[in-house]
Amino acid sequence: MKNFILGCFLFCLASQAIAEIAVITNVQNNQVPLTRLQVQDIFMGRMRAFPNGQFATTYDQTTLRDDFYQQLTQRPIAQINAYWARLMFSGQTSPPIKLTDDQSVIKAIQENIGAIGYINKKNASHQAIRILFILK
């Protein structure tokens, strides 16, 4: 019984640690929801625009960055950093702009029609933003 309670406790902790992440854009951007592959292409610098043609400005955030890329690409952040080092320092393209947390991402999204970022899904409700994809 003691082990069962401990197991439930650890499960709850793990569930809380791996948050659902919402990929969001400006509410005026008429882009329909994206596929996982499209989100990957945009955040890995392979696609510079939304499928609807709108130029995409990508935003990272330090709070969720590790979890976001782990869930999106199944790779640890060190591999993502090495990938971006290749693209960035060879002058091919620039990585997403780094912000700090959900609130700074929401603010940037609301100010730019072409902005795309990610936040904790629980902070996505009641906001003037459009959800494009949920990472589970």
Binding site: P76, A78, S90
Partner: protein, 419 residues
């Protein structure tokens, strides 16, 4: 003519870029620029003092059994400025061991980029020479598993940057992306002659193009580059005078006919390569093959290839690397001295060394480990064993007439980071 051409290129491309940058940066808001950097601190040593190990002829210092940090250590800073959604500027300067002007030769990137459309980029200014799969990020050791790009392959292209323009167009094809790139410009690199170890300007128009296809774990690249050097090799004028001297031609009949072989000026070099990389997050592999066609005996035609396979175990990556390079140098007969005069004999030996000792005949196996100790820091160690054939040490620094060993071990330890 040539001494005027390089400053002209700099005036025509680099200086307008810098002026344009200074004007534009004045209008930029604080939130639209960023400074990033990378670096490596590495120590390298071999088991011989007969020849020196370096990355390529852009470097002035090699290492022997007296260990050193010159081949792989570097520190780079990059300034990116976004003027708006479509116009960006990138400048990168690297502190490293490079021949010639310390500021100008280490200015690796200085270009403006215009996103003409969502799939078309146009860049103008100074850019990295994009010949092989890893050519334009050779300095970023953190971006690859090895201590340095494969010696047999990347040692043959000491030209790191050129001033010019490129057009990059991307196409979405079968859930992947095809990138087509064409570029043209002028390379003004300063290198070290081998043999001789003398600084010289390697100025050349350079044009090329490549196709890169990326799909999930795969990246393949087909590339062609044409280079036409317009500068002489060091000591050409003095050597030419000696070879065309009447008395010398009496002692060494017909040696004046070898004059054109003393320079790479106005020769043609064609680089053709095919490469592929695979990385599924656990396994990583990379292979490339290249052929260089050249009509200069100082830079003979050559072929090279490598294969690397690695396996990640959490933060540890183990890898092996096999490389091979071989040149097709045709031996050119140098007339023997008719007179028993040591000066004529010395001329014979110098000319023979200069035009017949440029061969590459090298193979290697490497074993290495990379440990990602933090999300932006990696520690590496690598052992490489080289087999060097007769007249095959052109990718190594030679010291006078010291005989070349046929086997060399190279040990390297490094610390890479980005920020």
């Amino acid at each position: 003519m040539q001494q005027y051409l390089t400053p002209l290129i700099k005036k025509a491309i680099l200086y307008p870029f810098i002026s344009c940058f200074l004007c534009l940066v004045h209008t930029v808001q604080a939130s639209e620029w960023s400074i990033k950097g990378f670096g490596s601190l590495s120590i390298v040593g071999t088991d011989t003092n007969a020849i020196g190990f370096y990355r390529d002829r852009s470097q002035t210092k090699s290492v022997t059994n007296a260990w050193g940090i010159a081949p792989d250590s570097r520190f780079g800073l990059q300034l990116d400025v976004n003027f708006n959604e479509t116009l960006q500027m990138t400048t990168q300067w690297i502190a490293r061991n490079h021949a010639g002007d310390f500021f100008e030769q280490n200015l690796e990137l200085a270009f403006m980029r215009w996103h003409a459309s969502n799939s078309l980029n146009i860049r103008a200014g100074r850019m990295g020479t994009d010949v092989f799969l890893a050519s334009d990020y050779r300095n970023i050791s953190y971006a690859y598993p090895w201590m340095r790009p494969p010696h047999e392959f990347y040692g043959t292209i000491p030209v790191y940057h050129y001033d010019g323009i490129d057009l990059i167009k991307r196409y979405a094809i079968y859930n992947g992306y095809l990138t087509a790139k064409i570029f043209a410009g002028f390379s003004s690199n300063q290198l070290i002659s081998n043999p001789g170890n003398k600084l010289f300007d390697f100025n050349a128009p350079i044009v090329g193009g490549n196709l890169t296809y990326e799909h999930r774990y795969w990246r393949t690249k087909l590339s062609y580059v044409f280079v036409h050097p317009v500068t002489d090799t060091p000591g050409f004028d003095a050597g030419s005078k000696i070879l065309n001297n009447t008395l010398v031609n009496l002692a060494l009949p017909g040696i004046n006919k070898l004059t054109p072989y003393l320079t790479t000026k106005n020769t043609n070099m064609h680089f053709i390569s095919l490469g592929g990389a695979y990385d599924n997050g656990v396994w990583l592999a990379q292979a490339e093959a290249a052929y260089l066609h050249s009509d200069s005996p100082l830079f003979p035609a050559q072929t090279s290839a490598y294969l690397s396979i690695g396996r990640r175990f959490d933060t540890i990556t183990l890898y092996t690397l096999l490389g091979i390079a071989h040149s097709f140098a045709n031996y050119i007969d140098v007339p023997e001295a008719r007179l028993p005069n040591p000066e004529f004999q010395q001329i014979h030996e110098l000319v023979d060394t200069f035009i017949n000792q440029n061969g590459i005949n090298e193979q290697s196996i490497s074993l290495g480990v990379r440990w990602d100790v933090y999300t932006n820091i990696a520690i590496k160690a690598q052992w490489s064993h080289f087999w060097i054939g007769k007249n095959g040490a052109q990718l190594w620094q030679k010291f006078g007439t010291t005989p070349t060993p046929n086997k060399v071990n190279v040990w390297s330890f490094g610390f890479d980071f980005i920020f």
